[in-house]
């Protein structure tokens, strides 16, 4: 290995100071890597921005104001983040069981379709909100769970790797949705009065109450997903099912030996993931849009992956990561407006964040972060990947 140059040594020393400062100031040990990854990504992003002739400080200042500049923007950022919590949980839970669910996007869509269908049923407007709202949320959850369970079943019955099957199922449900929502002959779910393909508006009684009239609207779906994070955290850390999930994820052979039903855990974990995505989708349909368009959840599954990895699959940390992610996307248009650059800049910063979070060894090396005991090992350095892909 070549000797580090002067500049590099300088950076290392400076980051060492920074590191000590952070250690003393906040005691955020497990989150160091994530924080540094974010910092590093904004630095590189800044270089890219200046390369296309824009002052990165101007751009970032606009981005920041877009994210939290005033109450309404802050509420909008929150609102934008809510569904990401669901899609990130959809990755996090199966990840603990050693499964990699790339299918959140499809599961969101499946949940969104069932929610939109149930929400627009003719009798829905006759029942009170206290019945209608749970109904639409449960419908979305069930729809997502069913779609999410399929790759679990395929994995256990046929050995098909969930990474490929979930990606294929994403495409299948997308085409199905385009047809159901777009077709005029026969009409399946399409709102025939609308010029763009979308489902019939849901009944007024099934709309989640609004909190702030921001863009997008902040509604009580926020509480549903925050609550979900707490429930999932409790389940993973304190229950027998959580123990089974972790055992299957760390050593499926030992789980089998210990009398756990490995296949059941796999199917349930995938179905639960689908349910989380489905709930998030239902909350979007019910609280934000009032109907469903096939493109609503575009890339939201992939964002969920990034958020879950950023939060190191810890449910409570997912809340923070989702807020960051959603507000960056929500703030980007202001940056576009003021600094004359595309919102894709945000996308590349996010991609960099993800890269550095997954490759935390790079970050540890650059910032000289030591491994924190046995818990310090990255969850992504799983010993080995089960089954060939």
């Amino acid at each position: 290995m070549s000797r580090p140059g002067k500049a590099e040594a300088g950076i290392t020393r400076a980051s060492g100071h920074l590191h000590r400062l952070l250690t003393e100031a906040w005691r955020l040990q497990p989150l160091y890597v994530s924080l540094y990854a974010i910092l590093l990504s904004f630095l590189i992003g800044g270089v890219l921005i200046s390369m296309i002739g824009v002052n990165p400080l101007t751009a970032y200042w606009a981005l920041l104001r877009g994210m939290v500049g005033n109450g309404e923007r802050l509420a909008g950022s929150l609102a934008r983040s809510v569904p990401f919590i669901g899609s990130a949980l959809a990755l996090a839970l199966p990840f603990r069981a050693g499964l990699f669910n790339i299918g959140a996007e499809g599961q969101l869509l499946a949940g969104g379709l069932t929610a939109a269908y149930v929400g627009a049923l003719s009798w829905m407007s006759d029942v009170p909100g206290i019945v209608a709202i749970p109904l639409i949320l449960i419908a979305g959850t069930m729809g997502g769970a069913a779609w999410g369970g399929i790759p679990g079943v395929l994995r256990t019955k046929t050995g098909a790797h969930e990474v490929i099957s979930t990606i294929m199922l994403n495409s299948v449900v997308l085409f199905a949705a385009r047809w159901m929502v777009g077709s005029r002959d026969p009409v399946v779910l399409r709102d025939t009065d609308s010029t763009v393909p979308r489902t019939d508006p849901i009944a007024d009684t099934a709309v989640l109450p609004e909190l702030v009239d921001s863009q997008p609207v902040l509604h009580t779906g926020l509480f549903a997903l925050l609550g979900l994070c707490v429930v999932v955290a409790f389940m993973l850390n304190r229950t027998n099912f959580g123990f089974e999930i972790a055992t299957v994820g760390l050593n499926p052979h030992a789980a089998h030996y210990a009398g756990m039903n490995v296949n059941r855990v796999i199917v349930l974990a995938m179905a639960a993931a689908g349910a989380f995505a489905g709930l998030a989708a239902a909350s979007e349909v019910s609280g934000t849009n009032g109907h469903l368009q096939p493109g609503t959840f575009f890339l939201m599954g992939f964002d969920g992956i990034a958020i879950a990895l950023l939060a190191r699959t810890k449910p409570v940390a997912i809340i923070a990561a989702a807020l960051l992610w959603g507000s960056m996307l929500s703030g980007a248009p202001l940056m576009q407006q003021e600094a004359d650059m595309s919102i894709d800049v945000v996308r590349i910063i996010q991609a960099l964040v993800l890269l550095f979070v997954a490759a935390d060894a790079i970050v540890r090396y650059l910032f000289q972060v030591r491994e924190q005991g046995q818990q310090g090992q990255s969850p992504f350095q799983a010993a080995s990947v089960e089954g060939a892909v």
Binding site: L48, I52, F100, I102, L154, K157, T158, G159, A160, H161, V163, I164, S165, I167, M168, L169, S171, V172, F175, A176, R178, W179, G182, S183, D185, P186, L299, F302, I305, A306, L309, M341, S342, D344, V345, R347, I348, Q350, A351, L352, L354, L355, A358, A359, A361, I362, S378, F380, Q381, A382, A383, S384, V385, E386, G387, A388, V389
Partner: protein, 436 residues
């Protein structure tokens, strides 16, 4: 089942009958055969249709009577079912007959859809050559996966590698060549290839040097490519104004392309399309006939054994993964500079994942993977063709979305192992640490 019942059933059946994958597949073919004979053949329009071999007007072709063909194929399916459940002696034919039955789905689909549409005929030569062309990125992508996984590194990031190199290559073309000069086109294709190698090198460093879970690393690369190319498109390509450009022009093989009727359609194609055959052949040659290929395979099967023989496992893995990346770069160039002259967001559209399915289908061999790619190429070409034909079932036209999702459904069926279990390299996915 209670213990008592269980015990008595055991007493009667000491050797339990097992329904394995093969017999279930045979059974399904049998059921399909019955359904076709009883339900479809009598109901279907019996006007004679034609498989054309060349373009209109006045094409040469083969005429046929749909119900007769359907019955013929169905009878074959019934034979397959019988073979699947027959005594031992005939069993050895069962596997072959299942494969033939699966291939029989192709003419079946064509006959059925022609009979269900208003068209009198369709050009099958063209359909075949389109399948080959559409198989190009899939075969290249599968070869990428082959190099990577045979050396022991699972590569889910093929999709991202192709997308990034498609974007970077076209960006180069748009910037330096203004998307019009042929010389710069070739330069840009080269840049594409190198970009693929670079992205693969990232995957290699992450999964070999830093020990990142290989699937996580692959997914990260896919997401990274999405972000990177989105940025390049809107900030660089779009600003040059050269959003669409000239793509490679078709090359005809000498002599072969002048064969009457079918030559011009079958032996004419883009340069990357022809390179694909070279890549597949070269991969087979190098991997299975040279010392280095033997070493690559040993690293994917038992890296510790390779190490004891003085082989530098990590170096072989780096080389192999990066070589694969160069191939993915070529596939990327196909998207943005051969298939279309231009770059669109997410233009690879899951081809990298379908390529992985082709690899699994082909049991991790170059020609098998090519066969898998051809299957998916065909399902895509067929989907498009059927959309054109306008297939109607009892008055309803089958929606185009159905045909568009065909390749994805086929992939699902393939990875679910409908064609038999496929076992990959034993050490793929396991990080290797050098002894010290």
């Amino acid at each position: 089942m209670t213990t008592l019942e269980h015990a008595s059933s055991l007493a009667h059946a000491p050797q339990r009958v097992r329904l394995d994958r093969g017999t279930i597949t045979s059974l399904l073919f049998g059921l399909l055969g019955v359904a076709l004979i009883a339900g479809v053949a009598p109901a279907i329009d019996s006007t004679t249709r034609r498989f054309n071999l060349e373009r209109p007007p006045d094409p040469a072709g083969i005429g046929f009577h749909p119900p007769t063909w359907i019955i013929a194929i169905s009878v074959f399916y019934l034979i397959t079912a019988i073979l699947g459940f027959s005594p031992h002696a005939a069993r050895r034919w069962a596997g072959l007959s299942r494969v033939l039955s699966a291939l029989g789905l192709v003419p079946l689909a064509l006959v059925l859809s022609l009979a269900l549409s208003d068209n009198a005929g369709t050009n099958v030569t063209n359909l075949f050559s389109q399948s080959l062309v559409l198989a190009t990125p899939l075969a290249l992508g599968a070869t990428t996966g082959l190099w990577s996984e045979r050396s022991g590194i699972i590569n889910i990031g093929i999709e991202g590698t192709m997308l990034a190199s498609a974007g970077v290559g076209y960006m180069t073309y748009a910037v330096v060549g203004e998307a019009s000069a042929t010389g710069w086109l070739w330069f840009s294709i080269l840049i594409s290839v190198l970009a693929g190698g670079l992205v693969a090198a990232l995957h290699a460093v992450l999964s070999i040097r830093f020990g990142v879970n290989q699937i996580v690393s692959g997914v990260v690369i896919n997401l990274f490519a999405l972000g990177l190319t989105g940025f390049l498109r809107s900030e660089v390509i779009f600003r040059t104004g050269n959003t669409s450009g000239v793509s490679t022009s078709d090359v005809g093989l000498p002599l072969l392309s002048s064969i009457p009727v079918v030559g011009e359609q079958l032996f004419r194609g883009g340069p990357i399309y022809w390179m694909m055959y070279l890549v597949v052949f070269g991969t087979w040659l190098v991997m299975f006939r040279t010392p280095w290929g033997l070493r690559v395979r040993s690293c994917g099967e038992n890296p510790h054994a390779a190490e004891t023989l003085g082989i530098n496992v990590l170096r072989v893995r780096y080389q192999s993964v990066i070589l694969g990346g160069l191939i993915a770069g070529l596939a990327g160039a196909w998207f943005s500079m051969e298939s279309q002259g231009g770059f669109e967001d997410n233009m690879t559209n899951a081809a990298g994942f379908i390529a992985l399915a082709a690899l699994i289908f082909g049991k991790w061999t170059p020609w098998g993977a090519f066969g898998g790619a051809l299957l998916f190429g065909f399902s895509r070409a067929l989907g498009t063709r059927l959309q054109f034909l306008g297939v109607e079932v009892s008055g309803f036209e089958i929606p185009s979305e159905f045909f568009q999702s065909l390749p994805f459904v086929v992939t699902l069926i393939v990875v679910a192992g409908a064609v038999g279990r496929s076992v990959g390299p034993a050490a793929a996915g396991a990080p290797f640490q050098k002894s010290r």
